[in-house]
Amino acid sequence: MRVGLFVPCYVDQFYPNAAIATLKLLRKLGVDVYYPQNQTCCGQPMANSGYEHLTKDCDRLFIDNFAEFDYIVSPSGSCVLHVKDHLHDEQKEQQATHIRKRVYELVEFLTDVLKVDKITASFPHKVGLHQSCHGQRGLHLSSMTELVDTPFSKPMQLLNQVEGLEIIQLTRPDECCGFGGTFCVAEEAVSAKMGKDRVEDHLMNGAEYITAADMSCLMHMEGILKRKNSKVKVLHIAEILNAEKEALSE
């Protein structure tokens, strides 16, 4: 099984640690993982702004980078959902279809494909789990409070295997953080308020760390936390699932 690691553009540039943790975690689990170096972006920022017609170059590049792999794995539910829903190419539709069927967000790849039931990680902290909307409502990483359904959560299933980790309960377990791509600047007032409210829920319930399967939501909440001079930190779920015991003293 050859796995292509898809690192979203902003993770590559601003949050390399999330990508490094993803790579190391997959290798630790014995996955044959590669990072195609000519990748850039899935095109979501343009598509969600109404410019899907401009994403043809990104689509082609994505296909050229990833068509050869059995699975494509990424530490971002949002970007994966975009690829799953919108990757097309008139000349390479067969490869596009292959990718759409084989692209996985990291958490669901671990729970559904690798069926991981033992994570050797340790993270003795109080952690708030932010349910990123596209991962949750788009990829169904967990049940949703709006639906009458049997409760489940793939991220929680993994976090529960981490030694010492304590999950805090949130007042609103699956409300959006307000990032929303270009929404965060186009609708600055509402976006920032949503971010503040989401962060407050975690703080009020005693989180030391906020984690998620999407770095974009965490980037948004980090911006708010820093403005508040809060000591609470954000960490991508891969960084927690990859946390070693000895690293704790840092």
């Binding site: 969600n48 170059d57 990032f179």
Partner: protein
């Protein structure tokens, strides 16, 4: 109202953070009640699916159901009128009143008449309209449009309502006790009901099979108006049909649980034929609905039963208020209906969302609201309703992302700028920076790290 668009109107709403918190909490409380009501029914998801399929059937066979409904309504003694648009609807209503020399009308809640701006039209014609739904009466007195389709004055605090009543209904200054205010409204409306010869109601469901229609209210105000008036006019959008009476068993269970978390509306009143000496009219209004029906990507927005659940759950609506949508119908459903009426004017609304998808999940008739928001964005841009600066920015973004070399270079420059020339982004010109710090630029990108560590 001003020509301001959603971002600017929301910014104004957000200047009073306590008020935003109060608005958000109030609507979240209703969303929570809705969840509890839904959880109480084990077959909830099946009910939603059933309702969705019934409505899909209606939309696919609308012409037949409309004719069937008209035939049966006529047989029941109801007079049926057809209005192609808002202007024709208003003209028909005025014509019916003028023919009888009526200058006063009582109206129960009807979002369709808001959509058609009937009150303004009738006022200009010298007809006095009183809204009898308490919330709607309050916003009418305040000379404002409703901010929510089910809870028209949800944006008003009780102290503000007290002030409005003081100015208009003569209550003492400073009184904000809901009991006192409600009693005042009750007396005021009783007088209205008793003296009005004409009543207009909306329609929640019209049954093709029987030619009857159902109006749902919690206050019984539709009944009070209609039963005491000589002439009852019901205005309905052509999409309000259901094929059979038994289907009410599906929709009435869904409607109020979704809207307010109540098991059923207090009054679900069936109107089938006029009583002796009374006239009953129904006005079937298109006003853009048949155009929407022809838009394949957006047609199923016409399944909407106007419960307002998508507004209550929408994190943007809760923090921007209904008036920020500058349209009769606010929130996510308004944002997918409005561009059909005027794409340029409402080009901002499909962008007033993070596409979180919560609206789609609460929708009792399973409209894919957030997917339609995405699709409207594409249509709006393609039809040239997007600002030129944004189009330019997107083209630059595409140019950069289309080439790995350019992307890596741009990333490097961006990170360098953040680190060494932070003032260029950490300022008032950057909307992100207003309430949020920029991310700390790392020493190296992942791809640079990978090159070093994985030769």
């Amino acid at each position: 109202m001003s020509n301001l668009q959603h971002p600017a109107l929301s910014e104004i709403f957000n200047r009073d953070e306590d008020r935003v918190n109060w608005h958000d909490d109030t609507l979240w409380w209703i969303r929570a009640k809705r969840d509890k009501a839904a959880q109480g029914i084990s077959e909830w998801e099946l009910l939603r699916e059933t309702a969705s399929q019934i409505k899909n059937n209606v939309l696919s066979n609308l012409h037949q159901y409309l004719e069937e409904f008209e035939k049966n309504a006529l047989a029941n003694g109801i007079k049926v009128h057809w209005a192609a648009d808002a202007a024709e609807h208003n003209k028909i209503v005025h014509g019916l009143l003028a023919a009888k020399g009526i200058t006063q009308m009582v109206k129960s809640k009807s979002m369709l008449t808001e959509e058609c701006h009937l009150n303004d039209y009738l006022e200009q014609k010298g007809i006095d309209v009183i809204d009898s739904d308490l919330g709607e009466r309050i916003v009418q007195l305040a000379k404002e449009p409703p901010s929510h389709i089910v809870l028209p004055c949800i944006h008003k605090k009780k102290e503000e309502i007290g002030q409005i009543f003081h100015e208009n209904l003569g209550t003492e200054a400073g009184v904000s006790d809901p009991q006192v205010l409600t009693e005042t409204a009750r007396i005021h409306l009783r007088e209205t009901f008793l003296t009005r010869r004409s009543a207009l109601t909306g329609v929640n469901f019209a049954v093709a099979e029987t030619g009857e229609f159902v109006v749902c209210t919690n206050e019984g105000n539709a009944d009070m108006g209609a039963h005491l008036a000589d002439i009852h006019i019901a205005s309905m959008g052509i999409e309000k049909l259901i094929p059979k009476k038994k289907h009410l068993g599906v929709f009435l269970r869904l409607l109020t649980r979704s809207a307010t978390g109540q098991p059923i509306t207090t009054y679900s009143s069936h109107f089938k034929k006029p009583r002796k000496g009374q006239e009953m009219h129904i006005v079937l209004v298109d006003n853009g609905r048949s155009v929407q029906l022809g838009r394949e990507s957006f047609r199923n927005s016409l399944k909407c039963i106007r419960c307002g659940a998508c507004m209550n759950t929408c994190p943007v609506y809760r923090r921007s208020g209904g008036h920020s949508y500058h349209n009769a119908i606010a929130g996510p459903i308004g944002a997918i209906l409005a561009p059909n009426l005027d794409m340029k004017k409402y080009s901002d609304l499909p962008f007033a969302s993070t596409l979180c998808g919560s609206c789609t999940n609460v929708c009792p008739v399973k409209i894919d609201i957030h997917d339609q928001l995405y699709k409207w964005r594409q249509v709006i841009v393609k039809e040239g309703n997007s600002p030129a600066a944004k189009t330019m920015a997107m083209k630059v973004m595409n140019f950069t992302l289309a080439s790995p070399t350019r992307f890596k270079l741009a990333g490097k420059i961006g990170r360098w700028t953040l680190k060494h020339a932070g003032f260029t982004v950490n300022n008032g010109l950057n909307p992100w920076y207003k309430h949020r710090e920029m991310p700390e630029p790392p020493k190296e990108s992942f791809s640079e790290w990978y090159k070093k560590n994985n030769p």
